[in-house]
Point group: C3
Chain length 395, copies 3
């Protein structure tokens, strides 16, 4: 296990006592450190060893959207490190009754180590909310209200989905052998047809935001009108230039798939629709929202050919591109009539998508670990040397 | 405490790394091992000692029906062994939104030790769902998705309710002194009138499925038409023959109660009604369901005499049969006008029914222990020798 | 930390194995012991030390009203001491389906250490419910159903809100230096206007019920008709006499504020309205309830001048009274048009109200500690001497 320690020393991570909201706000060393710690915790778990670094303490989660996998990943990560979980359920709680964010942020944080937030419904809102919570915790700590300043971890916002995309990056690292071997590989991040509406932009944005940093040729494709947030695309373009990779944007799924090493076909709602939707939601304009959904689904229906089918897969590098999805996928003939991916393609990569998802609990645990441990190298070393079994019989 | 260890050695249990879904799928040695471990954990708890065998790890629960006592029993068992609890709430989660069972089973299991499921609403569905979850976890583990294969524990399905009936068996063992002393005793498992509709068959089926294995004379009685699943009754009949006991089926509550040592009067819906109901539910036929409920309640109303009253109790062995119920009971004049049991009878056995319920957390803990510990004898011995107090002051 | 131990020795607390429902049911020594233990646990937490005294065990919470801060305070306290949390959600559970309180109380208590209850909606109900739960647990323990008798902790009822008012008392102790220095200080507990209706009486009643025991001059003021429960006011008057303080009741906010050292302006519903409301609720009289709400809001509207504004604050001792609120406050121009407090006043004391709230998790932890630890002095000493860090890196 010593190579994890040596890796971590090299990255000189500066995540202690910070929030983790957007991957591009953190150095490449920090990203690599997250992956190294996540891999180390995963290996400890595989060996039946305990990853417990907290005797007591709370991990708070705020979910403003439904979620199975991220909810369980967060719960799993908290438990693995020894934290108790407390969910702020906004229906049960009084947040909906006019409390201000900064007040609530302090009220839930007296014994908190981390606050995980998922807030991806409204463009321009989720990330802002996370920053407000972080700022409130910061003020509370500075003013002596809080003994410690909990770290805010983005579990998906309107801009990025870092715990997903870092799990995706770990999956690619494992699949291709190293981060270095990703250099020059082509990844197709494409829109795909779905009979549903209003899926967040955070996954495609997060993918182009992280993969462009590792020298990959990122090919973003979507039907005309399905743009992402322009600033995020600009940022990705800059990163690609700096890393020696590239970012290509087109309106052709075929172009994106051609000779790709990795394909990530996934539905999302157009940026301008999401903007309009947020406005209507603020006004409480229900007829307007219904009309927007109707229009948007009608527009979607023109693009049913944006399906990841066998023909498109055959055009990838050796016909064997790695198919990725953050799950759940809309599978044609399985979960819907026409969807994002053909059933035969999905079934071939089904186990691979499960494996992809399996990195997420450890990525979240690594983010908790690195934002909370003042001396992560020393602590990780202690954890490895201690080597306590999770179950009594092996002690 | 050593006799627990000696007992356990004798049973040569093979529960490690299995699911526990139906009592009759497991050997008598396994059943006895569950009771021995449960009794040992209960005694440790009574003495203020810790039963903690896990440093970290998750117990996942999936409740597809309301539940207070089983929910708290599961939470208590998990906590006692050191596991964190994560509930898959199907309203909050995305299971209802088209995810397949096998995908969800993997997504919730990355750090899980056990998955407890309650799914008793639809005949032919609950047990099937549990087997699908188990199979998906099996595949996930075989394919390297999961580091370990969590055990599925049946917290009540359409066929059996093993954590209830094993708690019931412990209660009888404690009441009569030993499992051996149950031999030749008569237990009346009877239908009883309730103003409600659609109660599951799992308790009566589970009771005849387990009590026939210990040489008891099981007398099953219900009004004409209130049959149980035929295969379960056949299985119980075979078991009675092999154990030297008997299974009698009649349509007379008086016959069943006559000279009984134990009575278990409880309402359930007829097998054929539950079958019809499942069909209507699949079709989403709401008027059909309402009509079925109306018919069924009208039919129920003909059988208000199926009440466990003082007269019937007087006909039992010495007038002192042990009254049992899985709770909550429909008590005439208390929780309803006419119900399963007369108020005076229930009040006399009220504390006994609480004591009966009190075995359940330890039965569930024993199932977690035996399905997860590779060397249960050694681990239980370590736990006893370690003898850590639950609270600091006694350390 | 030794002064906490010496303090605690002096108070000869008798809280072990009791419930904590009303502050005035417990001796001044017990109240002081709660504050001493809470301060000690808070200091341990501030230093990054573990307060864990339980290896395993459950803290059960029953919330019959929405709550963010009390819910999180209870969860935090349980976690800090090493207890797992299990919430009895009355929607999910079967309590609403006719189970009797005494049955449920036993069913949830098999492995419970404490039961925290919030039930403040109906006058004459909440405290009664808590006593019923306590009595049921008492019976269960006496009858051998429960290995141990869990302690019931009042998290707000119709009569008192002890975890709030003891946190308030800690806040005052910290602000003024000692409990002794509160002697002779004037505290104005006043009604304040709010556009909402039906707020519980527990905070004003709890405040006059505790502050009169420490020699303070308590000035209670409300518009005519907004009386509190008469018995509670009588009790407070007796206590004031015995402690050398005073209780003044008036219908003038200005009188109460004049030269006050502390002001606690907060809305509540009149006693007689709450009585009428409970009756209507029992009858399920929806039109009657709607009419009562309409009347009550109309009556409230006559008292918009009962706002804690800059002018009133200027009339306090040196213009610098400590403003207190249990949060969330109705802030004029922020959370409503006209409310309990002017925005500028609230903003000046905002951080102070957060600090006030910050004592609550530790007060609850202290109540858990003192009602569960047979030898609290010895256990607290062990905890201090042990001095384990919460996080691994500092071990």
């Amino acid at each position: 296990m010593n190579h994890f320690i040596n890796e971590l020393i090299g990255y000189r991570t500066a995540l202690y006592s910070t929030d983790f909201l957007l991957t591009w706000d953190h150095s490449e060393g920090d990203i690599r450190a997250v992956l190294a710690v996540a891999a180390c915790l995963k290996e400890l778990h595989r060996q039946g060893k305990s990853c417990r670094v907290f005797d007591t303490g709370l991990a708070i989660s705020i979910f403003r959207d439904n979620s199975t996998r991220t909810r369980f990943s967060f719960a799993s990560a908290a438990n693995a490190l020894g934290l108790g979980l407390s969910e702020l359920d906004e229906v049960k709680s009084q947040v909906a009754h006019g409390e201000t964010v900064r007040e609530t942020a302090n009220m839930i944080s007296f014994l908190a180590e981390v606050i995980g937030i998922r807030d991806d419904m409204y463009l321009g809102e989720g990330n802002t909310f996370m920053r407000e919570v972080g700022a409130a915790a910061e003020e509370g700590h500075a003013q002596g209200v809080l003994h410690q300043r909990p770290s805010v971890i983005n579990l998906q916002c309107d801009i990025d989905h870092p715990t997903q995309t870092l799990a995706d990056l770990m999956h690619l690292k494992a699949h291709f052998g190293s981060l270095e071997s990703l250099r020059g590989r082509k990844i197709a991040m494409t829109w795909a047809y779905s009979p549903s509406y209003g899926k967040p932009l955070s996954v495609p944005q997060g993918i182009i935001g992280v993969m462009t940093r590792f020298g990959m040729d990122v090919s973003l494709a979507y039907p005309e009108g399905y743009e992402l947030i322009p600033e995020v695309v600009e940022r990705a373009r800059d990163q690609a230039r700096m890393s020696g990779g590239s970012l290509t944007v087109s309106n052709s799924m075929d172009e994106a798939f051609a000779a790709a090493d990795i394909v990530y076909p996934k539905s999302w709602a157009p940026f301008h629709v999401m903007q309009k939707r947020t406005g209507l939601l603020h006004k409480g304009d229900r007829p307007g929202l219904a009309e927007l959904e109707r229009e948007c689904l009608a527009e979607n229906a023109h693009h049913q050919s944006w399906e990841c089918d066998e023909k498109k897969m055959a055009s990838t590098n050796g016909g064997k591109a790695l198919y990725m999805h953050c799950l759940p996928a809309d599978i044609s003939g399985v979960s819907c009539v026409h969807g994002e991916v053909a059933a035969s393609v999905f079934e071939r990569y089904r186990i691979a998508t499960y494996r992809q998802a399996g990195y997420k609990p450890f990525v979240i645990a690594a983010l908790m670990f690195l934002t909370r441990m003042a001396e992560p190298v020393k602590t990780l070393d202690t954890l490895i040397q201690r080597s306590i079994s999770r179950a009594l019989q092996e002690r």
